[in-house]
Symmetry: C2
Subunit: 113 residues, 2 copies
């Protein structure tokens, strides 16, 4: 599997885990667009949200749980934050392994894309 | 409850439903930022994702299910799309009733906020 996020998940490529459990992990975005810019994703290789079979939809709630946990830990829960999932080409998905962006630490712009 | 999205949900304010079931509904964004710009949200009034108690997290998977359904219906599943949840002030949340933006129909920009 030639997927950079799978390689980080399995230790083949070194990465700093901000969070990790049996299903989900989180790392920093290497090109941050805000003071806090994390990526929260399943360990399982799912290419995009458009590839989520109905029985796999609960993983999205798991990503949300971890994003909320990290926002709380970073002290931005009350100030607010933004969650983005890019899907495939027109969505601007850079790596074909489903991931949720968590952005915060400043007032984010109203433009969504 | 003085919430515009609750009023649309309960029919007090007229709205065109793109989707509706017992838990979730979807409407067009009144200030669209892309050819397709829909809002998918719970009927239940939850102010933001930061207010989601752990037992309510599955609603996020329901929002995802409906967003994927609408993307499929609009023919943008293969081209791609973007999902955004703004949380509270710095996240740019305009209405304090949890909602997921579905944007598509053109190549979205890489800037996320």
């Amino acid at each position: 599997m030639d997927c950079i996020f799978c390689k980080i998940a399995n230790g083949e490529v070194p990465g700093e885990f901000l969070y990790r459990d049996a299903k989900v992990f989180a790392v920093k975005d290497i090109n941050p667009q805000a003071p806090i810019h994390y990526l929260v994703m399943p360990i399982e290789h799912i290419p995009s949200v458009a590839d989520l079979a109905p029985e796999r939809l609960p993983i999205v709630a798991e990503l949300m749980r971890v994003a909320n946990h990290l926002a709380e830990k970073e002290g931005i829960s009350k100030r607010g934050y933004r969650l983005v999932i890019n899907c495939r080409r027109e969505g601007g998905q850079a790596v074909p392994h489903l991931h949720m962006h968590l952005l915060g630490g400043r007032a984010l712009l109203g433009k969504l894309g």
